[in-house]
Amino acid sequence: MTDVAAVSCAGLGKVYRLGVRAKKVRALQGVSLTVAPGEVFGLIGPNGAGKSTTIKILLNLITATEGEAKLFGVDVRDRKARVSLGYVPESPSPYEHLTGREYVEFQAALAGISGPERTKEVHRVLERVELGPLSRVAIRRYSKGMVQRVMLAGALLGHPRLLVLDEPTSGLDPLGRRLVREVILEQRRAGAAVLFCSHIISDVESLCDRVALLVGGNIKREGRVGELISGSGRTHEVVVDAAASEVQSLVGALVEGLEEVSGQAMFRVGSDGLQRVLHALVTAGKRVERVQPIRFSLEDTFLAEMQSTASRVGGSLE
């Protein structure tokens, strides 16, 4: 069973019908991805990119109009596919009349955990999310962070082999964010797969093994975080003991962001032009003070991809 992908989608598409005139919006097109056990997979993209639609198809909350989706090799429309699944939705709203403990007990019953095992599991997950005696208070009195903790506790019941988290750190304080990050890393160590969808790209960058960038219902980029960042092209920051005007006349066409700071010229140059620029400056007798590679973040990659696709938000009308 360990060889079977936790999540596998092939050519997934979703078209929504709008109103009585049956206008159609294509929210997802040809999305294919796999998440292996023990892997943290991040889905990033602007609002309306199709992240939540993808997750909802995987959870059988909506039906795909094309393609197929499986959890552990079982079609998502079969309830057996969700036997070992924990889910934390975006902006969760559990039954507010229940206390935190009652909610987790309710979730345990739905997950098929019964008898003394249920009591033990409920205690374990409530301890893990550090809810303590507050678990006996009605959820309607909880803060957003406490609701998120209860959600996380419910998702951790029964040691799930797949954890699906939709914007789990959004709106949380630093303590709450740290808890979510710790849980994700614990699950990975335990061999569970984590599908993680977020707008907070720094979280995705630090937690995910692989990332897919969704724009307009299509996957634009997919790969390991390191690959996506290095694929953006490496740039270097160079500081030369010379006036900016002198550098401009020598290598102005090859550099970007040239400025003069405390009598020294500072500029950026790409990997392709670095050797030519340094050679020209040294040959002209200028002293190169510093050459420092600039590390691109996933956010830079994200923004660059958004610019190249004209930042289209939402699905496309058909």
Partner: protein, 255 residues
């Protein structure tokens, strides 16, 4: 506890922690006790006043509460996204509907049991004889609630709260006019209207069959064979509506 048991318990807790239910419960008690006041002003006999007023108040409150709890329940679940946390578990949508239905029904029947207890207490206080027709009226109300809850769930499976509520109230009123509809189908001169009335009579739920309040008030005779047939009709109709609600809900996208 099974999945259906867990869902039913959650529904039950929700209804009883909902202040509207509490308010209605208190209101019911007050209204039933107010029968004593009515007794001093009515021109009818004591037996009829106690029987009729108590059954009327009980029916009105329970029907109102049934429509409030059932119509729009499924839509509320989708709008609040609470359903996401249930169907993302290995729970079928049919089990979800059945569990929620069962919980709502248990809530209503428990309320009816409490009201019936108070009602029968009045019978004892005023020394009113408990007739077979009163028993039939109380049991008929049980089946009516079973059917009305299914009607609420059916509308809720594909429409919003307001539409579900209005449709359920409309169907309740039409269901109690079945006798008149039959009369129109037999006597109206317009063939179109007569056909429509005939279709309506056979297709729409005939709640009139389950209403034994008038018989109880007049201390009439109950034909138990006919009563059993009416109850079976109501239960089968409710089962069919639940099945339809499940089929519709199973195909619904939760956006």
């Amino acid at each position: 506890m099974s999945v259906i048991g867990a869902l039913a318990t959650a529904s039950f807790r929700e209804a009883f922690r909902n202040r509207v239910t509490v308010v209605l419960g208190v209101f019911a008690v007050v209204m039933i006790l107010l029968t004593s006041v009515v007794l001093n002003t009515t021109v009818f006999t004591l037996d009829r006043a106690v029987t009729d007023f108590g059954l009327g108040v009980m029916s009105l409150l329970l029907v109102g509460l049934t429509i409030f709890l059932s119509a729009g329940l499924l839509t509320r679940e989708i709008e609040r996204r609470t359903i996401f946390l249930v169907v993302s578990r290995p729970v079928s949508r049919a089990a979800f509907i059945f569990g929620r239905y069962l919980g709502t029904l248990v809530t209503l029947l428990l309320l009816q049991a409490v009201m019936t207890g108070l009602y029968l207490l009045q019978f004892a206080l005023f020394d009113v004889p408990l007739t077979q027709a009163v028993v039939a009226a109380l049991l008929g109300l049980v089946v009516e609630l079973v059917l009305l809850t299914a009607i609420g769930f059916f509308f809720s499976s594909f429409s919003g709260q307001l539409v579900s509520g209005v449709s359920a109230v409309g169907l309740y009123l039409i269901g109690h006019l079945s006798g008149d509809m039959y009369l129109v189908s037999r006597t109206n001169e317009s063939p179109v209207l007569a056909s429509l009335a005939r279709i309506g009579y056979y297709v729409l739920p005939n709640l009139d069959r389950l209403d034994y309040r008038v018989t109880a008030a007049h201390q009439g005779t109950v034909h138990w064979g006919e009563f059993a047939g009416s109850c079976a009709y109501g239960l089968v109709y409710a089962a069919l509506l639940l099945l339809a609600a499940t089929l519709i809900f199973d195909r619904r996208d939760f956006k």
